[in-house]
Amino acid sequence: MEKLTFDSLQVGDALPSISHTVKQETFWKYAVGSFDYNPVHCDPDWVSTAQPFGIPQTVAHGMMTWSFMVTVATNWAYPSTATITKITSKFLRPVPAGTTMTCSGIVSEKHVIRPGKHFVVVELKAENQDGDLLGVSQAEIVFPE
């Protein structure tokens, strides 16, 4: 990843995207990594009847989808020692095992404050293999002097 500077950036620049195919094992692994062992992610038997999302499969953690999207931003920003200060997320569809999630991002806003305080807003999104929107996230990334 080459070094980015605030001035070299343009609104509309695309960030390199990443993708992952998620399985039940991925959910278990993330549960361990996050201490979030909610059965809706981890317990296929229970979910087949309880179905919080109205479907009988376990689904990915919202926080994992969020982490995937934020990884697009960190891969892009950290080589330039830029820091992420504010992030929001919205999860739009449950993500069952077997989904291939592609996360991408674009620079949507350039905030010209002052050296050391300039920041960009990056719109991140996660889509499945059919191009349906799974989640969106917005990150504010501050660039160093």
Binding site: V11, E109, K110, H111, V112, I113, R114
Partner: protein
Amino acid sequence: MNRINFERFFETEKQKIFGTDFFADAEDYEAWDEIDFESQEDIPGEQTFEVKAEDLKYYAAGVLDDNPFMTDEEYARNSPYGGLIPHPVFLTQITFWCIGVKGRGNWIRTPGARNPGQEVEIYEPFRVGEIIHIKMRPHDRWIKRKKYYLNYKIDFYNQDNVKKACWIVELVLPKSKEDIRKFIKGIRGVEV
């Protein structure tokens, strides 16, 4: 664009003395690319605003709102409010008045500016008799889809320094003085 179009609608003292020609000093308005974001201390408005019943009443009339709480002093006095209360967006009138023509924040008068949306918070309704002063400072400035956004955070205080409201006032502006000059000459100075 002369005043006669407006004069027939003048009802309040303030309306009669306010500078209605936004072109007059447009060259000196703060431009998007010249705003100083360095100093973060509060900037006062050019003048203060003493709230009179006529100001409230004619703001409501100006937005075609005939709600008696805002327009009928007698009705309002007998209501639990005990007196006139303003339309919640009355602070628009206060802001244009307090910012005036020469002071910081006069970019809100820029010919060619567009209003993308606002965010207002009201802590206490303004009341007749209060003397309002504003404190403002640059809050955010960005580019999105080729449009140049600027906003100032404006806090409204009364004579006892009670904070009455807060408004993040935001406009899409011409980028530079040069673009403002185009607009002054009647030529489109944005997204060209």
